[in-house]
Subunit: 156 residues, 2 copies
Amino acid sequence: MAVFFGTHAMKVDGKGRVSMPAAFRDALHASGDPSAVLMPADGAPVIEGCDHAFVEDLVKRAYTPGAMSEARREQVLLVLGEMVKLSLDPEGRFVFPSALRGHAGVEDTAVFVGRGRIFEIWHPAKHEAARTETKSKLGGERLSLARLFTVGEDKP
Amino acid sequence: MAVFFGTHAMKVDGKGRVSMPAAFRDALHASGDPSAVLMPADGAPVIEGCDHAFVEDLVKRAYTPGAMSEARREQVLLVLGEMVKLSLDPEGRFVFPSALRGHAGVEDTAVFVGRGRIFEIWHPAKHEAARTETKSKLGGERLSLARLFTVGEDKP
DNA sequence: TGGGATATCATGGGAATTCATGGGCGTCAA
DNA sequence: TTGACGCCCATGAATTCCCATGATATCCCA
């Protein structure tokens, strides 16, 4: 399973190319298929990315009777239409599709942020703002590994 | 499962490298992947560390429907963005990322403290202070293996 | 049990590799 | 032709590898 974490700022060159961070490249390789999939996030200036296996899981569940609600299924199918497959060049770069770049407002720097099974691509300032807001929304609770792993509080 | 315990003071060399204590290296090896993951703890001058399996567990739970509250899930995903992967060199050392070093205030000596499934990295003096404070906060109860293992007191 | 031989560990510094990035060239299609 | 796209090479910086050293700690055998 590909696991993405960490934050990496990368340049977008004159040809619109971006290096996939080496750590993410390794994570992608973990699932055999080194290609990635991008998608504009709905309602926020950010691009979401994942590996091919993640999409496959989603599709499997969408086509398994009873695995999700009809509405959720419809959402999944809709989202599938917005996905873009990336192929990396021999140096580990890809051309950042201009439509997606516009959605995220990315200019010359793209910030890659790991979120577990997916990752995000942000404009640096927008990312900083979003992160700060999320943190304040979570109510100042101290974030630590040990705390996050404790049971008892993690039930809905 | 990796189990970290004990306290080990290590030097930071001119290149910013630190030896992972041998005991911790062995613990990391126990889970197959000898690499470690670091993270700045929120609200305290300390770095938290764990093995890759720990992160994977966290991610798996975060992506399992119903496994945790929405707020907790958001916290986990936020924290993932702050993590840094360490790769140990053949001698068992790693470069202590300067941002993390700054967070912990570590200069030329880093104190590694085992805390079970995770470990911590401190500035020597700050660690001593924090340890003293925690002990006093626990109300002077005598700490012994036999006592800690008795049941009846360990329910919330 | 003493004590030397042998590993392991922590640490230091130079060499080689990887990474991110930039640019040129050929190819295929409209 | 004219782009768009993919492939190849080049480069500087940062990272990782490799070898070396002293200090402990461990082993082994008489």
